[in-house]
């Protein structure tokens, strides 16, 4: 199955990835070949098989909802591209 340029552009938009005009042909071709490859799965008979939820058949562990760590915002914001007054800055969203 070959993907169309429009389908690939729509996936890129969903994934928030910029793909340049120069790249798009190559991306369509490689993504199509990967989807073709994984299509082999359709040959497997899985009628009586439950989908795997966890490799060890473990349940999700729960913990009590209590605070056990101190606020470390200042340390974490050292890695941020742009901050002001403890806030992360992004381009204006609302005019």
């Amino acid at each position: 199955m070959s993907l169309t340029k429009q389908e690939v552009e729509s996936v890129a938009r969903l994934a928030r990835l910029e793909i340049t005009e120069g790249e798009i042909g190559r991306v369509v071709e490689k993504l199509s070949s990967i989807i073709d490859f994984v299509d082999q799965l359709q040959t497997a008979n899985t009628d009586d098989v439950m989908p795997m939820a966890h490799p060890l058949d473990m349940g999700q562990r729960l913990r009590t909802d209590e605070i056990f760590e101190a606020d470390q915002r200042n340390r974490y914001q050292v890695n941020a591209p742009e901050v002001e007054a403890g806030l992360y800055l992004v381009p204006k969203v609302i005019e």
Partner: protein, 483 residues
């Protein structure tokens, strides 16, 4: 000093034959002299290493040293290390200095180990040749024209070249075992949930598992014991107690039932590689094991299953890299959408973008049942076949890779060719099983590996089975020329 194993180094340090500072200085000078041709390190932390070594020497002098105190190691650059750049092999995290340590890092630090630096890797651990790294490919010390495997290629090359006695790694589809095989060392991928994933940058959370690359099974046992065990910070961490791995290394293999999956020995396997595996099976027969053929009929579907499940999880995990809170941000974004799209488009390399796109596609409306749900069913089918096999045998054996190391650039044009290189290792991750690769021969001068696979939490038995082979063979002692 660099030719000694951890077990030997530990005895020397305790006996004060040399200090951890001397040992650390020696390895740092080897990295300085030899790593230019290998590119196995992204960051070398010389200053921190010497300080940690001095602290370890004091601890030993006080009589408080353990078996790992003062032993140098390298961490794959996927593990967060406080105050040290943690890049994950990506431009996206080139400027990221972690504010905290991964659990693996803090546990080995507490044991007194000395971090030499952070090793090169495929970008976000996505690759089988270490060619997708933002920091350039790693070269195989056995032949610099060939790849060391991936994604833990820097860790593998550093240990094989005797730049470090041990390096950590992660294995999502073979990323510890495959590079270990291609550079002639021992690689251990533990059971899913055995080692904490906290602070280990996520690729595919239901498959990722941390482990070690060492020269011997005995060394792997020592380090694995220190890094394993329950961690409340990892919701999939197993509460099962950690056995004393090095205590059972010598156990007899009399009566051990070995199964060889026929699908592992098919026409896709290089004939000399097959001969090396068969010679290793003969060693096990001589040690008292019985060898029989078993079948894993769905093995061929493991690679397509993986290339649905892993990209799906990756597309979700990597959505956190948005250019806002940390990591790469593009210049002069026009608006918020432009900031997201260009930061991600410029910050991620081609293979990572390909996997995010694949994952986004298979999870998108209308395709979920056909791909993701179907893949999780086939995954259960594969796990079931392993469970059935382990009703009749104690350990499965076969090749780790279809052939020895290939040349740089040989498989970069077609992603499928690269993906198929992991045909023997991927199923183990899908089923959450432990797997070990040990050197079992040289094919045209390049190492190949024997893979051992056991039931969940059988690490002690696998290390015992690996160790007994290493007492009867010397492949793990072979050294690439010039190192």
């Amino acid at each position: 000093m660099h030719k000694k194993t951890i077990a030997e180094l530990s005895r020397s340090l305790q006996a004060r034959e040399f200090s951890s500072v001397e040992l650390t200085r020696h390895l740092l000078s080897r990295i300085d002299a030899l790593d230019g041709g290998l590119n196995s390190f992204i960051t070398v932390t010389a200053e921190g290493a010497l300080a940690a070594a001095a602290a370890a020497d004091e601890r030993i002098a006080r009589g408080e040293g353990g078996p790992l105190t003062g032993i140098p190691l390298a961490h794959k650059d996927i593990f967060c290390t406080e105050g040290v750049r943690t890049s994950c092999g990506s431009r996206m995290l080139d400027n990221f200095v972690s504010p905290y340590d991964a659990t693996v890092v803090s546990r080995l630090k507490d044991a007194g180990m000395v971090m030499l630096g952070k090793t090169n890797m495929d970008e976000f651990a996505m690759g089988s040749s270490n060619e997708t790294s933002f920091y350039g490919p790693v070269h195989n010390p056995w032949d610099l024209k060939t790849v060391p495997g991936g994604s833990s290629g820097g860790s593998a090359a550093a240990v094989a070249a005797r730049l470090a006695p041990v390096a950590t790694g992660t294995d999502t589809g073979g990323s510890i075992r495959q590079p270990a095989a291609l550079v002639g060392i021992t690689g251990v991928k533990p059971t899913y949930g055995r080692v904490s994933r906290y602070g280990m940058i996520a690729f595919a959370s239901s498959l990722d598992q941390a482990g070690v690359l060492t020269r011997t099974a005995e060394d792997a046992a020592l380090v694995l014991e220190a890094m394993s065990g329950f961690d409340p910070r990892d919701s999939t961490s197993s509460p099962a107690p950690v056995p004393c791995y090095h205590g059972s290394l010598q156990e007899s293999l009399e009566g051990l039932r070995v199964g060889v999956p026929e699908e592992f020995m098919d026409e896709g396997l290089d004939s000399e590689n097959r001969a090396a595996v068969e010679a290793a099976l003969d060693v096990y027969r001589a040690l008292g094991a019985t060898v029989s053929t078993v079948s894993l009929p769905s093995l061929a579907l493991s690679v397509p299953t993986y290339y649905v499940v892993a990209p799906a999880e990756a597309s979700s995990n990597l959505s956190r890299f948005d250019g806002v809170r940390f990591g790469y941000r593009c210049d002069d974004p026009a608006d918020l959408l432009d900031l997201y799209q260009r930061s991600r488009g410029e910050g991620f390399g081609d293979e990572v973008k390909r996997r995010i796109m694949t994952g986004t596609y298979v999870l998108s409306a209308g395709y979920y049942d056909a791909y993701y749900l179907k893949a999780q069913k086939v995954r259960e089918l594969i796990a079931r076949e392993f469970r059935q096999a382990f009703q009749h045998v104690d350990v499965l054996m076969g090749p780790t890779t279809p052939a020895p190391a290939f040349e740089l650039g040989a498989k970069t044009t077609d992603p499928i060719t690269m993906y198929l290189n992991d045909i023997y290792t991927i199923a183990v991750n899908l089923a959450g099983l432990p797997g070990v690769s040990i050197p079992c021969g040289l094919v045209q001068g390049l190492p190949v590996g024997l893979q051992l696979i056991g039931p969940h939490f059988s690490e002690a038995r696998l290390l015992n089975v690996a160790h007994r082979y290493q007492q009867e063979s010397d492949w793990h002692q072979r050294l690439p020329v010039g190192y």
